[in-house]
Assembly symmetry: C2
Homo-oligomer: 239 residues x 2
């Protein structure tokens, strides 16, 4: 059974303000929930139409109609879970670190987290203006990868000022990434969907790289930030 206070809490978690206040975030879909249950994340409550056979005190069986009421999705997916937001771990300053300067779209951030997981990027460093990684649309797009990437929200200018790693950034007018020798240890900065890397951050970037365009008409304005990140991470890793 779903009480009014449950509904109120869950609905509030759509907003970052309430996620921060309560320290919880929402995950939907059996597959992702199961993956998160196997991680170090701590479950607060699970609302489901079909039992997961976990500790009964954490599991609340609901009807489809009740799930519809609390779900953030158009087509709810059997279960909705509330997990505790984990504490941020410190950023390990070696290997390849990905930094995002104000990436706004939840789907893009979700895809980028999944890419970090694939390419073994342990630390994803986000400017404070980047969309919250516990946004339900981000969680949906990560497919469970969020449990395997350490995501930190920082003053990006300060972070880049203090790091001893070489700083690379994606720019339309950068040197062709195919001809650039890329190190194993470094920071790669990706910019905002519409405006790219901001001026203050650009000043801290040592090497600007770009993905060459091959179209005849040269009319495509830019690649989507998630697809550009995919190509650049692949370039760093392919050696």
């Amino acid at each position: 059974m779903l009480s009014k206070s449950h509904i109120k809490l869950i609905t509030s978690l759509k907003q970052k303000k309430y996620r921060l206040k309560h320290g919880f975030f929402v995950v939907e879909g059996v597959k992702t929930i199961k993956e998160l249950l196997q991680s170090k994340l701590i479950l607060h409550a699970l609302y489901t139409t079909e039992s997961f056979n976990i500790d009964a005190k954490d599991e609340i069986l609901v009807t489809e109609a009740e799930l519809n009421r609390i779900s953030f999705l158009t087509t709810p997916n059997i279960a909705l879970a509330i997990f505790k937001i984990p504490e941020e771990k410190s950023i390990v300053q070696n290997g390849l670190v990905l930094a995002l300067d104000t990436v706004r779209d939840p789907g893009n951030l979700g895809t980028i987290i999944r890419l970090c997981d694939w390419f073994g990027i342990k630390d994803l460093v986000c400017s404070k203006e980047t969309v919250d990684c516990f946004n339900p649309k981000v969680i949906q797009a990560t497919m469970g990868s969020i449990t395997r990437v350490n995501i930190s929200y920082v003053d990006l200018e300060l972070f880049l000022n203090e790091t001893s790693l070489p700083i690379y950034g994606a720019f339309m007018e950068g040197e062709t990434v195919y001809n650039t020798s890329l190190p194993d240890d470094g920071v790669l900065v990706m910019g905002n969907e519409a405006n790219g890397v901001s001026e203050d951050i650009e000043a801290l970037i040592k090497r600007k790289v770009s993905i060459p365009r091959f179209g005849d008409l040269q009319a495509t304005e830019s690649l989507n930030v998630a697809t550009a990140t995919a190509i650049l991470l692949s370039e760093f890793r392919r050696g």
Copy 2:
């Protein structure tokens, strides 16, 4: 002013069945509409709250409330246009051709069309089960690239059987794409989001390639089809 018949026509174009029946598709957003106006596509009608200063017979000034009624978006964007669906051109059998085996997600197809434009892929060949490229969500995601890529819906098995181009495909268990020598002319087949390339199509693929995974835990199941396409097209083009 917006008549009932206009509203009925526009609303119907959300569905593929009616797009095929009427031969029209809907585009929203000033930027994309302007890009399409400059292409070879033929405008049928433009509904806008601000004049585009084009031939008055094609332009229907509407109020914001009227635009809200016809828009497919949560936040309508000043203008909505109806264009004629162009005739399919024949597929040019040289250079690099991208083929999609049942890609279902409109956002993925839109991103892939934008990637084709960036990487100078002239022909995108889709299985009949692939999402319709005139779906409004696809159009939204292409950012105008749809005018620069020739998209054909075909019997993919037949197409691959008949082509003289070498056929490559993306598979989890393929050889590392980083170590594969890739030709200038060829077909690259990408599979469905959940199931990959289907069995009948797999039988026709000569070279299976994969993007290596670098994560320690080896737990990420797969890359999203759009990001995998980004990396593979980049690999074909980088030489």
